[in-house]
Symmetry: C2
Subunit: 105 residues, 2 copies
């Protein structure tokens, strides 16, 4: 996989899980597998706290690559399940990387 | 507080906690209080999973506001403690918000 530092854009996905909802872990793992196959995908990092608030940041080569992932059929179907079963609310922000600094990452 | 959607820039702070390290929770809470007083601060969201990987996204009006927070004296001192005591590694990305979408957030 490329280094995240080579990415030009990112998507910040902030979500609040509802209690329960079958199939979430399997679907989340499947999305992580599937996204690796997308042209222009660079990497992903994710954290979810005990309060159910999660932040996932995916990194991309281009806005076109982000749009293609958004349109991916299985991903779109999983998004529908997310709204129906798993999330109380969520938000996506498409951002352009301006600069980065890391300490031993 | 302003709505996060009014922000122009964000900082994605991704960090891996080490085990232990006294004073972390207090310092983190103090930084959340302190940042609210910074001109140009819009909001912040944070998640840390059981594996110790955390993602905090802070939202800002301008690059100048981000630079001023970086230079804030107490914040800078706390960063030093972070490297010494609390984090195995961390990374900062300054990003420009291009567009956003939310579902019932």
């Amino acid at each position: 996989m490329k280094d995240i530092h080579e990415a030009a854009y990112a998507v910040i996905f902030t979500s609040q899980r509802r209690e329960g909802g079958d199939g979430y872990a399997e679907a989340a793992a499947r999305m992580v597998d599937l996204v690796q196959q997308q042209p222009g995908f660079v990497g992903v990092r994710s954290a979810r706290g005990a309060d159910g608030l999660g932040i996932t940041v995916s990194y991309w080569d281009s806005l076109e690559a982000i749009a293609a992932w958004r349109a991916q059929v299985e991903h779109a179907a999983t998004r529908e399940r997310g709204r129906a079963d798993w999330y109380a609310h969520y938000e996506l922000q498409v951002v352009k990387l301006e600069r980065a600094y890391r300490w031993t990452f």
